[in-house]
């Protein structure tokens, strides 16, 4: 496939190039919608299509006004803040609990391993709308209980509810990535450390943790992006005070579509490029540390 042999017939040559064109078109279909919003977000007008000025590459046709709106308008700025409050806390919970559980699961003798694994992965499998429905009923009661019995403020309980819900959604990703790193983990290293007098805590932090760190970090990134992108559960569990960026985009798309949404989308694309690069780098580092050749 990679190179056409010199003895290829004309038919084979035609097929070879047609196939490449087809694949190219599919990749274009995958990537173009994401890229097209970037230039559109610099539109000087409030249109969702290219204006004649933009097509003529006239600088007049471009402006940063939608970005200005995004970073100054409280309607957008507040949700961004909320997202940046909720996602890190949810990530911390997911990562700490998820990493411990993944280490536990990777031990050689775990009773009911399959059942435990299935339960802990379930938040990833169950459709979000169902998770959201279940959480809607449960968390509203829990919120009332926290407000009335524990005396927390309404806004605090609102954040706690969303953070817990997002943490539950994020843990499967941490378990999967950390378990994958642990598969290649050489157990004799921990035994060697113990042999040389390290306590279990020391062994964990000095030997095991540095080796599985890439898995933990990329699991954390997955958990972060899960929370940062999540809209269904927060729509059902959160109150207006917890409106996150995706929620604002969702209402924006459904009700009054404003071009600021394109600026928000472009910022998010930039964030995802950074995250993708980090995960890819970590994956390579992890494979190198474990003595595999990065592919």
């Amino acid at each position: 496939m990679s190179a056409l042999p010199i003895y290829a017939t004309t038919g084979q040559k035609i097929w070879h190039y047609t196939f490449r064109v087809i694949v190219g078109l599919i990749l274009f279909f995958l990537i173009a919608p994401i890229l097209i919003i970037i230039p559109l977000s610099f539109n000087a007008e409030s249109f969702f299509t290219f204006t004649p000025e933009m097509l003529a590459l006239d600088p007049e046709g471009y402006s940063l006004r939608h970005y200005r709106d995004f970073f100054t308008n409280p309607e957008w700025f507040r949700p961004l803040q909320n997202s940046l409050i909720i996602a890190p806390f949810a990530t911390i919970i997911s990562v700490s609990l998820g990493t411990l559980a993944a280490i536990g699961l990777s031990q050689s003798h775990v009773p009911y391993r399959r059942a435990i694994m299935a339960t802990m992965i379930s938040p990833m499998i169950v459709p979000l709308i169902i998770s959201a429905t279940g959480m809607f009923f449960f968390y509203s009661q829990m919120g009332l209980w926290m407000e009335e019995t524990l005396g927390f403020s309404r806004s605090f309980t609102g954040y706690v509810k969303v953070i817990l819900a997002h943490a539950a959604l994020g843990t499967p990703f941490v378990i999967i990535t950390v378990t994958a790193t642990l598969v290649g983990f050489d157990r004799s290293l921990t035994r060697a450390a113990a042999n040389m007098g390290a306590t279990p805590t020391q062994t964990f932090f000095k030997v095991q943790m540095p080796l599985i760190l890439p898995g933990v970090v990329s699991g954390g990134l997955f958990a972060f992006i899960t929370s940062f992108d999540e809209v269904v559960v927060v729509l059902f569990v959160g109150a207006a005070a917890q409106k996150t960026l995706p929620w604002q985009m969702f209402t924006g798309l459904r009700e009054q579509i404003s071009p600021t949404i394109l600026a928000a989308a472009t910022v998010l694309v930039a964030v995802s490029i950074v995250l993708l690069a980090t995960v890819e780098m970590l994956r390579r580092r992890s494979e190198r540390l474990r003595g595999m050749t990065p592919s």
Binding site: L27, I31, I93, L97, P127, I130
Partner: protein, 534 residues
Amino acid sequence: MAEQMMAADGRTLKSSLNRALRRQKLRALLLIAPLFLFILLTFVIPIGQMLFRSVENQIVSETIPRTVVALADWDAAVDPVPDEAVFRAFAADMMVAVEERIHTRLGSRLNYEAAGISSQFRRSGRDVEDMGEEVTEQFVALDPQWEEPATWTLLMAESDWITEQATAEDEPAFVVSDAAREALPRTADIYADFARVTQNINEDSPTEEQPWHIVYVALYEDLLANPAAQLAAAPAGLLAEAGAAVSAFTAPDIRAAFVDSDEGWGETRTWQTIQTYSPPYTASYFLNSVDLNQTPDGIELAPENQRIYVQLFIRTLVMSLTIMGACILLGYPVAWMLANLPSRQANLMLILVLLPFWTSLLVRTSAWKVLLQQQGVINDLLVWIGLVADENRLTMINNATGTIIAMTHILLPFMILPLYSVMKTIPPSYLRAAKSLGATNWTAFWRVYFPQSVPGIGAGSILVFILSIGYYITPEIVGGTSGIFISNRIAYHISSSLNWGLAAALGTILLVVVLALYWAYDRIVGIDNVKLGG
């Protein structure tokens, strides 16, 4: 007999090893426990609660308990409208429910089953407090003491309560005396509710409030049944006098009062609905979610214009299958190319696949909304090329087409990645071998390569299918009315129509389908083999 091996601490080696194993197991479980409990509490229990809600129907028997009991013996075939006793019980229940402000909630619950009941509850909720007024007037005419709240507390309360009430700063919760319950059972029962509502909801004292008219009706009934009823705590002669007089009272007609308030209460169907939905658990939500109705005459197909759910389930399945098919068609060539390119180029190409995978769902959905609009980029381009006339631009959004295009784009990476990881393991030499043995390109692909890639197709298909049947956001935004899924209906019932039982039932059905597919996925691929990002 062989000597047993001993460990350093003097135990047998076997027990020592067993102990070590047990400790290891315990340690593993301790590490897992925090997350397991967390998921159980924040995820599994909420879902379980939702499943429970899909069959739960306690609202009827909790809101109108007396009516449910009185109605149990009623037979619509014998008596088209229940008798006065049922109406009196219902008036008592309604009075309590109105004061607790929960009667409209029951009204909307029953409205799912029989349209129009909700307004009956609302209308009669306003009228119920005047029902039985004539009885009160007759009692008061007999002896003005009946008007005094203090007479009533004296009659009904436990003596301890009266002493405590006189001294305590905060009034203690009202206690009905056993003697009152025995002598005047119906009155005591409804008076207890009156006292509770007065104290807890109106934050008042029963010593200062005249009871509801319906309490007087209960007293009338009690005395009619037992004119000689006596209570030691009662003011001298009060009860005896009333007991002797009640037979001459004009009997209240609560039934007429209700029918007067809303004609619906005189209809058999209303009472049949209440009777049918009295039990604490019901299958009606599940029946509703497959377009069936539980009517007093048995299970019936819903009226033609209300049959939407079966069609919606079918549409969800058909559209998910279409999306899955589109993903296979588009994903297969890309995965093949990825698997057969030299690794440096393949990695570059993989980034093109992973970038959409990592991009926010809402970004991708908004991109499609922008692209597919009538004044959007694609239509502009088509008009500019001249393929489409300006006046008949294509409608690609707010219909099924929009949903299918956008969701294929969103789910395509989930097809490509499993396919790629399977195709990477197929040695290219097999194809060369097949060709050198005389197979044509097509035969070599179809007989040699394709069968080996089937596990990848299976894994990708199940993944895409599971994800797509539960999708909510994208259909909501680009689907309009003809491109929505069952999940959109669930969300509608949660946030707009507030028919939570039906939402839970629809969710349960969807969950069962997904879990069955998940089980299949686990059997075919193994959940441990889920790969993220290649």
